[in-house]
């Protein structure tokens, strides 16, 4: 039986019950009484700062009051009217940087109202019911193509369907959900929540999903334009940045997003191999998700190596503390130089860095870490051959997702602006849908 100390990359480092416990809900759901107590802390602020801080502008004081008065389903409708993926956002939003940071009780006591958990309580309640809470408007006869079944695409498709349009979503992978399904830590989406949420969302009707349809292969923007009244591109970021370190090709070096994707789709996590000494290079949410899950699978030592200071990591403070509480070491001000190993990786050499005159430079001092698995999490890039204008490596958009080409909109991570958050993608999909609707129905 392998243990945490077994050398190399091995499955089954921890017993099944330990793995199951490790990958349970990061934050358990609130029960009815806990929700009532948490809801009562809301001050029902005037022009509430939490609403301003929410990319989807959910009327947070109203939904919390609806929970407090014993109507969680009404609360859920308040949430879902603004954010149809309110269930997932309740689980993955960095609330500590958004609504809960803005909460006046954070100002007053350093202890905000638990908006994220309350949102989950409301959305879980309504999703446990049969049926779908929204109905479609009368058919418009318009047909719209949405490319990509991630948060932006799903959000756009749902709003369009609600407005009476017929939507086809074209998805390259074998399964819809995008990063919700493939890209976030498993303990944030337990019991197959991402897939269940997509099924629930499709309950609106009028949305067809075609999987295995990749832009540039099976489909093209021109082709979609010819067959549809409008096209919405929500194709995410398909590429992963490369390290500029020698030895990147040695076995045992992989992309963090691929590791997370495989982990999310694994039927049995005890069969998923993980290194004894894991090093994750990067400083964002993906780095944290890969590192923490490596630890939870039983890796003996896991290190996040980031080239700048900890305060500059794009992973939220909450995520950094989560990683450290799970036993992940955060090593800062180091950049990879070379990776060594004969058949497989055995160690990685870093150079220490310093910021001189605002520029990051190597100091010449080196550190060597033992490593039998290395994950790259240094950012994703837009790859896609699209006949629309691109700026700073993303599809250029103005206003509610308008591209340079009439009839084509874009949103989510592939579009310029935004901040690569699920909640932002949902907002962009929704707003593009409203603009598509206004454009198609204009004059009526």
């Amino acid at each position: 039986m392998p243990t945490s100390l077994t050398p190399g990359i091995a499955p089954g480092r921890l017993p099944a019950d330990q793995v199951a416990a490790n990958f349970a809900d990061l934050q358990p759901p609130l029960d009815g009484h806990e929700a009532a107590v948490a809801a009562d802390r809301c001050y029902f602020c005037h022009d509430a700062p939490c609403v301003t801080a929410c990319p989807t502008s959910i009327d947070i004081p109203m939904f919390i009051r609806q929970i407090a008065t014993g109507t969680p389903e009404a609360a859920a409708k308040t949430i879902l009217e603004q954010n149809i993926l309110g269930g997932m956002c309740a689980r993955v939003c960095p609330t500590e940087d958004l609504c809960e940071q803005a909460c006046v009780r954070e100002t007053a006591e350093g202890k905000p109202v638990e908006i994220g958990r309350l949102q989950r309580f409301a959305t879980d309640t309504i999703m446990a019911k049969q049926g779908h809470p929204f109905t479609r408007a009368a058919p418009t006869g318009k047909r719209i193509a949405v490319v990509g079944a991630g948060p932006a695409g799903l959000s756009c498709a749902h709003r369009l369907a609600m407005l009476g349009h017929d939507v086809t979503i074209y998805e390259g992978r074998a399964k819809p959900g995008g990063l919700n399904e493939f890209g976030i830590a498993a303990y944030k989406s337990t019991n197959d929540f991402a897939a269940r949420e997509v099924d629930w969302l499709l309950g609106i009707g009028g949305i067809r999903i075609e999987v295995g349809q990749t832009l540039g292969r099976e489909i093209s923007v021109e082709g979609l334009k010819a067959d549809h009244d409008a096209v919405f591109l929500a194709i995410g970021l398909g590429g992963v940045n490369a390290l500029s370190a020698v030895g990147e090709d040695i076995q045992g070096v992989a992309d963090a997003v691929d590791f997370i994707g495989v982990l999310r789709q694994a039927d049995d996590l005890t069969e998923l191999p993980v290194g004894r000494n894991v090093v994750v290079i990067g400083g964002g949410m993906t780095a944290v998700d890969a590192a923490v899950q490596s630890k939870l699978l039983g890796a003996d030592s896991v290190t996040i190596a980031y080239r700048r200071g900890q305060d500059q990591m794009s992973a939220s403070r909450y995520e950094q503390i989560l990683a450290q509480s799970k036993g992940v070491r955060i090593l800062t001000n180091v950049q990879p130089v070379s990776i060594h190993g004969a058949d497989a990786v055995s160690e990685i050499v870093f150079e220490q860095t310093a910021t001189v005159d605002g520029k990051l430079t190597g100091t010449g001092e080196q550190i060597t870490l033992p490593a039998d698995q290395i994950f790259k999490a240094i950012g994703q890039t837009f790859i896609g051959d699209v006949p629309v204008a691109v700026e700073h490596g993303k599809i250029a958009v103005t206003g509610p997702g308008r591209t340079s080409v009439a009839g084509v909109w874009a949103g989510g991570d592939c579009a310029s602006g935004g901040d690569d958050l699920t909640v932002t993608a949902v907002a962009e999909g929704r707003d593009a849908a409203l603009d598509i609707h206004a454009t198609l129905m204009g004059g009526n």
Partner: protein, 434 residues
């Protein structure tokens, strides 16, 4: 350390905290536990006439009103007077009083409005050695339908009549417990003292329906699909009770007469407030029913600490001290002008003051784009609503203007002299200022 020993009607107890006549004082077992916990006295749950015992419902007898986190704000009840045998109660009272001679033991009574009924029970109570009696003219449910309880308390003539019988056939102090279910509490209080009562105690419970079961379409507590009004008590009734105590304390006809304060006393502070308004002691029920008897220790330590801070040696030093400051609206100083002031450092920018003022008051608070809330003195009437709704203590305060300053709202100079409605030029019935 302050001395909490309190003498009320010549009855001395180690502290002013008595348990009111209610379920907690129904029998020896509970009362012994109460005395062990430190309560200064008890009013034994109301005894009725000799005969077949009272019958209670066999379904729920309490309803509740909750605040946040199921905090009990008010309870109502439809329990009747003791449903135990009269002689069992009398024997237990005798035993307990003998074992706790330093504690006050008052016996609550409710028998029909017939002289013979009172003449029969009073000697039996006298034999127990209890320190006094309390006449239950207050319970608004059940017994009132049989012409007792609040049915008596609502007719001043009956109060005087029964009180006089008790004074005639009983040698120790007689306290008359008043019902709040009347329009002017001063009339029953005057009636009690007219019958030579030694004291009044108030309030008894308030007629109430605490909630409606919206599935069964019945009031709660629900007995087989139906409910009835019950007597409401607990923190929710305290403001009503304190006003009634104050009205009696300042009524020229009853001023200075002993009052035992009842109604939502939950903490030492509640007790101090009742006593400042003229109550010689307080009686407690709902707080004990919610938290158990141990709460009296907080009341003892809290009152004692406060008295030490204020330099009060004994409870009589502050009893009634707020009574002279309870006045009629017409005597309030109309020359007193205050303005709300927001402490920007303490403000957490929730905007509740703004919403309250803008939507429901005087549009006297401005809000900037970056959520700075500022009082506009030229609009502020000092209504205090912003202070009341602000979640941060002392963030908004009412600052009095000084004489000689110009009130920007009225353009008038603030006057130093006191002037009230009775002399105001807008008052058609104004009397000339002396």
């Amino acid at each position: 350390m302050a001395d909490l020993t309190t003498t009320f009607l010549g009855i001395t107890s180690p502290n002013p905290f008595w348990l009111a006549s209610a379920p907690p004082t129904d029998k020896e077992y509970n009362v012994r536990r109460a005395f062990e916990a430190g309560w200064g006295g008890v009013v034994w749950k109301t005894l009725g006439s000799e005969g077949p015992p009272i019958v209670n419902v066999n379904g729920p007898r309490y309803g509740v009103v909750y605040g946040a986190d199921r905090r009990v704000l008010g309870i109502n009840n439809i329990e009747l007077i003791t449903d135990r045998d009269l002689y069992t109660n009398l024997e237990e009272i005798t035993r307990v009083k003998k074992d706790y001679p330093d504690r006050a033991m008052i016996v609550s009574l409710m028998v029909p409005c017939e002289e013979e009924a009172w003449k029969a029970i009073l000697p039996l109570v006298e034999e127990t050695g209890a320190d006094g009696i309390e006449l239950n003219f207050g319970c608004p449910h059940g017994m009132a339908e049989r012409g007792m309880g609040s049915a008596v308390g609502q007719v001043p003539e009956y109060i005087t009549m029964v009180t006089a019988w008790c004074k005639q056939y009983y040698s120790k102090p007689v306290i008359v417990k008043l019902t709040p279910n009347i329009t002017d509490i001063r009339n029953p209080a005057r009636a009690a003292f007219k019958g030579n009562a030694d004291a009044v105690s108030l309030i008894n419970t308030i007629n109430s329906i605490t909630s409606v079961n919206l599935d069964a379409m019945s009031p709660e507590p629900m007995i087989d699909g139906k409910g009835t009004h019950g007597g409401y008590c607990g923190p929710a009734v305290k403001p009503i009770a304190m006003n009634m105590v104050a009205e009696i304390a300042r009524d020229p006809e009853t001023r200075g007469k002993p009052i035992s304060g009842i109604g939502g006393v939950t903490t030492w502070r509640d007790a101090a407030e009742f006593m400042a308004l003229g109550a010689g002691n307080v009686q407690v029920c709902t707080a004990a029913m919610t938290y158990g008897f141990r709460i009296v220790q907080e009341m003892i330590s809290g009152l004692s600490d406060w008295m030490d801070q204020k330099g009060y040696q004994r409870t009589s030093d502050f009893i009634g001290k707020a009574v002279p400051n309870v006045t009629d609206w017409q005597y309030l100083n109309l020359n007193y002008v205050a303005k709300a002031k927001i402490d920007q450092d303490a403000c957490i920018k929730c905007g509740r003051c703004y919403a309250a003022c803008e939507d429901t008051s005087h549009q006297a608070i401005s809000m900037s784009a970056d959520r700075v809330f500022t009082v506009m003195d030229d609009e502020c009437v000092a209504c205090n609503l912003c202070v009341d709704v602000c979640p941060v203590q002392d963030c908004i305060t009412m600052v009095p203007m000084q004489p000689g300053q110009v009130d920007p709202r009225t353009g008038k100079v603030v006057q130093k002299e006191y002037a009230n409605w009775t002399t105001h030029p807008n008052n058609p019935g104004a009397v000339a200022a002396e």
